[in-house]
Subunit: 502 residues, 2 copies
């Protein structure tokens, strides 16, 4: 070993070997310079890794929703166009060298959706108008009151109006519609009123500010509405439909998984199911975005299937109704993950009833999603499916009523099949602790079906308010109805067969 | 009757009498002018009513939270102070006549809380700096490339950088910290780069913009931090504590109301209880405000009991944990309002167990609220109360296990009291439908207690991260412990006694 060591005279390598035999690090100990270099290298590679991660994240944002990239290009385009006011002398002189306000307007007013942009444009123009007129008036009063008093009059008016405008922004009804307008009011008023002390042609200043802001706003509205427009209302509409489907999938998946749990299941399938099960969480967390979309939607003109006064507020009610279902699904989930294991006998006894309720409930939700999506009046399918759900609930309640016979076989059974089930069971008395999870699940399911009825009402109200058309393509419609109902039946049957195998 | 009628020759009064005999309206029919006057009067009075309603609402906003009024005064004050830059010649000349940017900065940067203001100030200054330097650089490159190419170079750079900045605002990690900074970057870059085409002293322009923005920002920071400051962090802290108390009240009230429901109850008391019961809804809807407060809180310097790097993110975890409890309380509420009436016997049998679990659970939550409020390490009281909760859950589970004996009295009972209860019951077999609501309630209660354990862990983690102090005032502490525990016992005993009366 000694002669070999001499070979490594110049650089000594320290090799730390971990318990599992893998080498952890190779660090030559040759003075500060090398250490510093390695440290720097580590820092750089760490930074490079972070940058790579960031770029990957940014790339994901872009690929997940290409419309976001289009939005960015639109902003760049609008700004490049408004820059022409600087580059062309007649335009520049036309606005008295105040072209920068048009540029500023484009930057602050351009939002991803048409509704948000219209809201900001309208508020900006209105706030500027009001404040401009008021400021010119205040300046006139101040200038009449003598040079020494003037700053105090202007200062006091700024103080009072700024306080009042700020206060108005704290009142909910004003905040939801005119928050940005109040901000612009303050901005313009302070700017014009105070400038009046130094600028001679105040009226011209106010005039230029208003016209440049109108120019910037108009350009924004043109670009946002002509180049691949994204409508808040349409987004809200799609979100509600998407969330309904997610809710139906969660409800279905949740109950199916519970009654399959004891059976076999491949891992990849489980993962996909897990994703579906978590869908209801999107419903829980979408309140804020629904509200802002509904607010911006009300600023949008007629587009696609939607009129100017489309009842966006009703979508919020549908959203709230869906959330109340999602709360129950959350409770359902907890009851599925419960430590208390249910007795097989009870699971078999209530399984088909629970599955019927969950599949018929989710079918109702899917049909409602279809109603909202196609904007056709509540079809007979909905009534049919709702009736089916009600009868499934009734069936489940009957199943619940017959349970005591499983607990107490001496009492007279009202059902022949049950009698067979009882005689098949080797232990005639099931403990209540084995019963609790399934009973809880069943009663939450019944509660959910009640809340779905409220959801049906909310969608019906929307159909009335928005004057949904009647589905006149009867052949297509009846085909769809048949398909939906037969699908639902097939699904339930399949699940029940699988259950019997379990 | 005829001579009497002649007296009313000039004006004929139409009196519509409603079915119940009350006169509905008195409308004289004397031509258009009077009708128009009345219509106008109606309009005015309607408008006046609306204004009065609005003023009332505004007044409520002010009286409910006087700090909002103070905020408004602060904004007015800051704006009045910054106006001095216009009124004093040396100051005005010092910033090259660009004092309006300082005014604008104050208007757009001033937010109700210190954290939000600091976030905006920092972002505005940083964005302006970066964009200013870049824009001067781009202008230099453009000016070197000849007069004809210059607009295209500038236009292309504006297009590219504006698109990139807009895109960065869509990446969540950037959006949460630098959204406003990216906006200001776009604003300043377009403004300075494009102005370069018309303004000769570009460097001076950038310099003035930066210095006025720094002046405005500094003034805002001074005013917001010196005049009655409102800290985002403190607000978040208080919100979490308040929500914990509300959660505890809801849980307690919900279960107590259920087992008292059949008893007598005065209306005024019921109303107060209803308000308490709905408290958990605040927890459900406070996610968005918690997130923004935690975000702004991280910008705040050390204040009050909080250090600069206080773990605000952990409050979000506590909030999420509380929400998961609140979902279950929502399900609990639905089960209380259920149509299926529970059997009195079962209610009596499980009542004390459920009340014990709910009161011990809510005591744990209240103790956690106290821990967070006082920022003292988890005391032995918490452990004690958590143990009590666990044993209450165990007790409830035992109660559930003995129910089958109520359903099937022939099986041997494991509990003497139960035997008595069974013999007291005239109908020995309770139907399962009468059992379902209470069993569901009990199992949701057990689930809630599990989630409260997660909440205890989250608060413990906060105590570790924030390095909570140790409660050294032992005598006071032990007194408090005794008081809390004895209070809890008294409450449970009282409720149980009342239950027996029912």
């Amino acid at each position: 070993m000694a002669p070999r060591k001499e070979v490594f005279e110049g650089v000594e390598w320290r090799i730390r070997v971990a318990a599992d035999g893998s080498s952890e690090a190779l660090v030559p100990a040759t003075g500060l310079a090398r250490k510093a270099w390695l440290g720097l290298k580590g820092l750089i590679s760490g930074f490079a890794l972070k940058v790579r991660m960031f770029v990957k994240k940014a790339w994901d944002v872009g690929t997940n929703d290409p419309r976001k990239v289009i939005h960015c290009i639109k902003v760049g385009l609008a700004l490049a166009i408004v820059s022409v006011f600087y580059f062309m002398r007649p335009l520049y002189d036309g606005v008295g060298g105040n072209a920068m306000w048009a540029v500023m307007t484009v930057v602050v007013v351009f939002e991803p959706t048409v509704g948000a942009t219209l809201y900001k444009c309208f508020n900006r123009v209105l706030g500027t108008f009001l404040a401009g007129f008021l400021a010119v008036g205040v300046h006139w009063v101040a200038s009449q009151s003598g040079e020494r008093v003037e700053p105090f009059v202007v200062g006091a008016s700024v103080f009072l109006l700024a306080s009042a405008a700020t206060f108005s922004r704290l009142i909910p009804s004003v905040k939801s519609r005119f928050d940005y307008g109040a901000l612009i009011f303050m901005l313009t008023f302070s700017f014009v009123a105070v400038s009046g002390y130094r600028v001679d042609k105040l009226f011209e200043l106010a005039h230029h500010r208003i016209s440049t802001i109108i120019i910037g706003s108009s350009l924004c509205i043109l670009v946002i509405m002509l180049v691949c427009p994204i409508w808040s209302g349409q987004e809200l509409h799609s979100l509600i439909v998407r969330n309904m489907d997610k809710l139906a999938d969660s409800l279905d998946g949740c109950v199916t998984q519970y009654f399959y749990q004891s059976g076999e299941g491949t891992n990849s399938k489980e993962e996909a199911t897990d994703n579906k099960l978590q869908g209801y969480k999107c419903v829980l967390s979408s309140k804020a975005s629904e509200e802002s979309m509904a607010n911006f939607g009300s600023w949008e003109p007629s587009h696609g299937q939607f009129n100017f006064r489309h009842p966006w507020k009703q979508y919020l009610k549908i959203g709230a109704s869906m959330r109340s279902c999602a709360y129950c699904i959350e409770a359902l989930n907890s009851c599925i993950k419960s430590e208390n294991q249910a007795a097989k006998l009870i699971k078999q006894h209530l399984g088909s009833g629970c599955l019927k309720v969950s599949s018929s409930s989710s079918n109702v939700i899917r049909e409602l999603a279809e109603t909202v999506k196609t904007m056709k009046k509540k079809s007979s399918t909905t009534d049919l499916l709702a009736e089916e759900m009600k009868s499934a609930v009734q069936g489940l309640q009957n199943d619940l009523k017959t349970i005591p016979h499983l607990l107490n076989p001496s009492a007279k059974p009202g059902n022949k099949t049950l009698e067979t089930a009882c005689s098949e069971a080797t232990t005639p008395t099931v403990t209540l602790m084995e019963l609790v999870p399934v009973v809880t699940l069943a009663s939450i399911l019944i509660e959910i079906s009640g809340r779905i009825e409220a959801l049906v009402d909310a969608v019906e109200e929307l159909a009335k308010l928005a004057d949904f058309g009647i589905n006149d393509d009867k052949s297509k419609h009846s085909k769809m109805t048949d398909k939906t109902v037969s699908d639902a039946k097939k699904q339930t049957e399949g699940t029940m067969k699988a259950l019997q195998r379990v």
